[in-house]
């Protein structure tokens, strides 16, 4: 993707507004794409008012980096920083859902066959993962099982969690495994991460009698902690109680463009939230032929038809726009791939909605169709990291664990280690094929 071009354009300063008209009857006429391309000066003003580096990072989906770049308390900068943190939060929440599937299936499969290794710390990690997905009963069973762990600290942590899993006075993260677990809960409560909590390295290690490490397990709490911290920070900056409120009430005095640009809502007036996922409102989705409500069954073909309907209308509208805006507007449209970015964000929002509605086949199809296949293994302006998280979850939920690893591997470039998730997914892929002899062929 043309980051260099983007930077060059942003550094070039303001552009003259276009006076050419555009009148196709579509809600998109009031969209951020129409505004930016018809009046490039508005985009230049937004960039000047906040942070070029921030918008460059936001455009290429480096949201944590963008949040760091949007400095200061000016309303537009706050709105931009808040949006970047909401994007980061959504990604971590996507990944936490991936982690829920991975840990649950991994622990249950392992327990079923070949059986939890004697003395292993796996039950402690499985118990924490069960708590993460809200299954206190399963957590209790796992912690009970883990009281027989060879590592005295793990065994003690399991005993403590089995009886006091709802919390306790200790919150010192230096206080062993329990302290670490409580440190996560504290971070989620306050929105502040204790620097003594380190994401790298395993949570639990199994050792053989000689002391050699034979198994390692990551910490299943990280992703939801990161999501929670990002949420706290976003809502604090946006002065909102929830994502829906933040969407409907941008920071007073902020540039309206900052609330929607490079996002799935064509205008803040048409932005809704489904389980915290910002998505276009009914008018635009109807205009796209997608429909705002999900089909009753999880149907990949229906999703493909919906995307084709969207493409037919959106391409037509975009072509019309391309022919009527100024050279500066066309340069923005092409160099920043605005149409492809918008299309990708709309499809990602709908894929997230499908995933949260237990329609993995639809979610997977929408995410795949949103990708720019010319650079399918790279996160970038079109290839939002959330697409890979949705694909990973959908693949896992449909039993295609090995395929999910492809998506997770792309995310590894953004979040090295993924808080231990990637190795857990690796273990699951291996475990599910542990009794197979593979097949291989040439070409």
């Amino acid at each position: 993707m043309r980051t260099a071009t983007l930077v060059a354009w942003m550094l070039a300063g303001s552009c003259r507004p276009s006076h050419e008209g555009l009148t196709p009857p579509s809600p998109l006429d009031a969209s951020w794409i129409a505004q930016v391309t018809r009046e490039p000066a508005t985009f230049a003003a937004l960039v000047d008012e906040s942070s070029r580096d921030g918008w460059v990072a936001f455009h290429r989906c480096a949201f944590e980096e963008a949040a760091e770049a949007f400095l200061g308390d000016a309303p537009t900068t706050r709105e931009a920083r808040g949006r970047a943190l909401v994007e980061a939060m959504l990604l971590y929440e996507d990944l936490a859902r991936v982690g829920d599937v991975v840990w649950q299936v991994l622990a249950d499969t392992w327990k079923d066959h070949p059986g939890v290794p004697p003395g292993s710390g796996l039950p402690y990690v499985a118990g924490l993962a069960a708590l993460e997905r809200g299954d206190a009963s399963a957590a209790r069973s796992w912690f009970d099982l883990g009281t027989g762990a060879s590592d005295p600290e793990v065994a003690e942590a399991c005993r403590w969690m089995a009886t006091r899993a709802e919390g306790g006075p200790e919150s010192d993260v230096s206080n062993g495994l329990v302290g670490r677990t409580l440190g996560h809960l504290e971070a989620r409560r306050t929105g502040r991460l204790d620097p003594r909590l380190h994401a790298d390295g395993p949570l639990v290690q199994d050792r053989d009698p000689q002391g050699t490490v034979i198994r390692t397990f990551g910490d299943p709490q990280w992703l939801r902690t990161w999501a929670s911290v990002a949420r706290h920070r976003a809502l604090e900056i946006l002065d909102a109680r929830g994502i829906a409120e933040a969407l409907s009430d941008p920071v007073p005095g902020s540039d309206p463009l900052s609330a929607v640009i490079f996002g799935p809502c064509h205008a803040s007036s048409d932005c809704t939230a489904f389980q915290d996922v910002p998505r276009s409102g009914t008018a635009l989705l109807d205009d796209f032929g997608m429909g705002a409500s999900l089909p009753p069954t999880d149907d990949a073909d229906q999703a493909r038809r919906a995307v084709r309907a969207l493409d037919a209308r959106f391409d037509s509208w975009t072509a019309s726009l391309h022919g009527t805006v100024s050279a500066d507007g066309r340069a923005l449209l092409d160099d920043l791939a605005l149409a492809a970015v918008f299309r990708s964000r709309v499809l990602l929002a709908e894929a997230r909605v499908a995933m949260r509605s237990d329609q993995p086949a639809r979610a997977l199809t929408l995410a795949l169709l949103a990708l720019d296949l010319a650079s399918a293994r790279q996160i970038g302006p079109v290839n939002h990291p959330g697409l890979y998280a949705v694909m990973a979850e959908a693949q896992l939920r449909t039993g295609h664990t090995r395929e999910a690893l492809d998506a997770l591997q792309v995310l590894e470039t953004l979040l090295p280690g993924l808080g231990g998730l990637e190795e857990a997914a690796n273990d699951l892929a291996v475990l599910q094929g542990i009794d197979r002899y593979g097949d291989s062929k040439e070409n």
Binding site: W110, H113, P114, P117, I214, R215, T216, A300, D301, R304, R308, D311, A312, D315, T318, A319, H322, R330, L333, D334, A337, A339, A340, L368, D372, L373, A374, S375, A376, R377, V382, T398, G399, H400, T401, R402, E403, L405, D406, L408, Q409, N426, D427, L428, A429, V430, L431, Q432, G433, I434, D435, R436, Y437, G438, D439, S440, K441, E442, N443
Partner: protein, 515 residues
């Protein structure tokens, strides 16, 4: 992505005029259009005991069945088996077979077919390339017409996961061993959802749905078309002279992704290209010579013309659980190569490396239909010639490939690609007794680790063992590991309900529909 690549349903494809002959050749009345898919090369044989290429595996999936197969969640589910019981010690499994199955020639399917297939695969004289898939079975015993007892070498926990190999009709073979060159290869009879109707003069193969199999609204007829020029495949799909491409060239992805009459589906990703040495030939039996040649190859420059992909450092792709990410990829380091060749006794005279007066020359062999192989080999020739090593390229057809590479091992360096199912089991490629180990690689440490990986039930033990295999094999350089490419299949938008098996492609074909 820019406006110039917006999705257009009617954009003429460059070079359309030259397609006329191909289009006419595939023209059919609309009412009679079968589901037509393209292969680069028609399978030389249709015989599940001698399947070495993906094209052969795909057609076997249409014509034959196994005792078990994958369900859409990729869990083992009964195919020809009806039910099974495992003995408490895990050493025996009694399999009850379906009684409602007939072979495509009308003969009933029985337990004798299962026993015969296993015995034939195990018979060393059969020379089956699939023999490794039954090596864990000690005996197959006929219990009655529809019951067979399998006795295992070691206790098994989920033997059904290994019982996916295809079953042959015993009544069409006089005895074991069977021969690859027998008539069955051109008159295959299976129990699968499609029966072979004809091998046609244009190398296409026509198959018809077996009556009573699946939903009658499914694909009534399937035709495998040979389209050896991969550049034409995408064009034929766009002109509706094909319904599917099993693998799209990376450079065609943008055009197909943006075409409303085409749908792309991700396909297997566990494949990698390599340059394999003949380790029984001098001087390629010398590690330093292999390392030198690896250091002379600019892999990025070879990859650039054929598409985007990830360079691999060993026998596992970067997203594999077994990939050892500490292992560096092969880098282009000419000065290091010079030092290694000098240490090995070579001298550079008149810009050519020689030893004992003999110039260093490589016979580089590739399969004629490996996509972009000619481009890669010619670029490789240029790189090595520049470095002082001669290259004799040779491109083989399928029959010559199997004879020269698999049986006679007549090559110095081979350019090819391995594709793996999700188990990513490289045992046959790198174990000294592996049935696909035509490079002659042997490392006792690797053998031990591969055996350990097959027997352990602990995923982390297996992962650790195979990551070590990745490192050891990289260091031994039996191959120069090249790259893995993104793989997508392309379908006409007239085909619905498509779910592709990540390896065998057609496993769930009975659910596919065509307008």
């Amino acid at each position: 992505m820019t406006m110039s690549s917006s999705r257009c349903p009617c954009r003429p494809y460059p070079g359309a005029g030259s397609l006329a002959a191909a289009l006419l050749a595939f023209a059919l009345p609309a009412s009679a259009v079968p589901f037509r898919y393209a292969e680069d090369l028609a399978p030389g044989i249709v015989h599940p005991l001698y399947t070495t290429t993906m094209a052969e595996a795909r057609i076997s999936e249409l014509v034959f069945d196994g005792l078990y197969t994958d369900d859409p969640q990729l869990a083992s589910t009964p195919g020809l088996a009806l039910s099974a019981g495992l003995s408490p010690d895990g050493r025996e499994m009694t399999v009850r077979l379906r009684e409602d199955v007939t072979w495509h020639d009308g003969a009933p399917f029985t337990a004798r077919d299962v026993v015969f297939t296993i015995q034939a695969m195990k018979d060393a004289s059969t020379l089956s390339t699939e023999s490794g898939r039954v090596a864990w079975i000690d005996q197959a015993v006929l219990v009655d017409a529809h019951t067979v007892r399998l006795v295992f070498r070691q206790p098994e926990r989920r033997p059904e996961d290994k019982l996916h190999f295809k079953i042959l009709p015993a009544h069409l073979f006089p005895e074991t061993p069977i021969r690859r060159t027998g008539t069955f290869r051109h008159r295959p009879v299976g129990t699968g959802p499609y029966k072979v109707i004809s091998f046609n003069e244009d190398n296409s193969i026509t198959m018809r749905a077996v009556s009573g199999e699946g939903d009658p609204a499914g694909l009534a007829e399937v035709a495998m078309r040979e389209v050896s020029d991969k550049n034409y495949q995408a064009k034929l799909l766009l002109y509706e002279s094909l319904e599917a491409l099993v693998r799209v060239l990376p450079r065609d992805l943008a055009v197909l992704q943006n075409h409303r009459k085409v749908e792309l589906y991700p396909y297997q990703t566990n494949s990698w290209w390599y340059l394999g040495f003949n380790l029984d030939r001098t001087p390629y039996d010398e590690p330093s010579v292999r390392q030198a040649i690896a250091a002379l190859i600019d892999i990025d420059a070879l990859l650039a013309p054929i598409g985007t992909g990830d360079v691999v450092s060993g026998p596992y792709v970067p997203s594999s659980p077994y990939c050892n990410h500490q292992v560096p990829r092969f880098e282009h380091q000419p000065s290091q190569a010079d030092a290694l060749l000098s240490e090995a006794g070579f001298v550079k005279e008149a810009r050519t490396w020689t030893r004992n007066g003999q110039p260093l020359r490589l016979k580089v062999v590739s399969h004629r239909t490996l996509e972009s192989s000619q481009e890669v080999v010619i670029n490789l020739q240029s790189q090595l010639r520049e470095a002082g090593i001669g290259v004799e390229p040779e491109f083989l057809d399928d029959a010559s490939w199997k004879a020269r590479i698999w049986r006679e091992r007549d090559y110095d360096l081979v350019l090819s690609q391995w594709t793996f199912d999700r188990s990513e089991d490289v045992y046959d490629q790198f174990h000294s007794s592996g049935t696909r180990n035509f490079t002659g690689y042997a490392n006792p440490e690797v053998d031990t680790l591969l055996e350990k990986a097959r027997t352990t039930t602990d995923p982390q033990v297996k992962k650790t063992a195979l990551r070590e295999v990745h490192r050891l094999v990289h260091d031994d350089v039996p191959m120069v590991f090249l790259w893995t490419l993104d793989s997508y299949a392309a379908f006409s938008s007239r085909v619905h309900n498509v779910v592709i098996h990540p390896f065998y492609f057609f496993t769930w074909v009975q659910n596919w529909r065509m307008e």
